[in-house]
Symmetry: C2
Subunit: 138 residues, 2 copies
């Protein structure tokens, strides 16, 4: 009955404030996959007040910007699904033409072995996020 | 070389202004699937100015609200992918526990025959969108 995003971090923490956190889960095929996770246990964007929706999306777009600068993706994918874990979280995914599923969504059957991605450290992502979002105490 | 979202509407038009349109494509398994399509041919959210990103997301959230009121979904899924058609468009999808893919994304392999969904007309969706977004000339 527990919620894994209330009870665990969901990946390496790259940035956080009192409202949400940005994590990088271990997904070998997608090193450029970040998640933005709301701190509160809420299911839908329209359960949030309009100013909160904007605040969460600003963090999502900061992730997109950081991924674009570091991974030079062919496309960025954004998704808030939550069918399995109904606790608001956004997937922000750097996609490349030679990744495992392109041009299909990463949740579709795999098409090929992914080509190696650029090696990007957590620290490089942290710095890129802080340039957009500012530094926050952990 | 053409873009199908520049050249075609992409579904029945439910709402539009000079910035974006809301359409309902024919997807028999998902009558509660709407798309919000930017008028301009732009690939990524961070290609837009911050005020434009907010404007597009407000339309996405209006769709979520309309779908919640008319389909009573178990979850709403939001996604901007665009790997095949790199022209900004958001999928806003009412999901039900007995739909064809739940709890997986709709792009994953089907799990079952979808249970019949509530019959919701285009007109009911138009009226629900206009309640949130106001009436706009077509």
């Amino acid at each position: 009955m527990g919620c894994e995003l209330c009870e665990g971090e969901g990946g390496s923490i790259l940035w956080r404030d009192d409202f949400c956190r940005v994590v990088r889960p271990v997904v070998p095929e997608y090193p450029g996959l970040l998640r933005v996770i709301l701190r509160r246990h809420v299911a839908e964007m329209t359960d949030l007040a309009p100013a909160e929706r904007r605040r969460l999306m600003e963090t999502v777009f900061a992730c997109e910007q950081a991924l674009r600068s570091l991974f030079r993706p062919d496309k960025v994918n954004l998704a808030s699904l939550g069918n399995q874990v109904p606790h608001l979280h956004w997937h922000v995914i750097a996609r490349h033409r030679d990744d495992a599923h392109f041009p299909n969504p990463i949740w579709s059957p795999g098409l090929r072995t992914a080509a190696p991605s650029p090696a990007v450290s957590d620290q490089a992502l942290r710095e890129a996020l802080e340039r957009v979002l500012g530094v926050k105490a952990a």
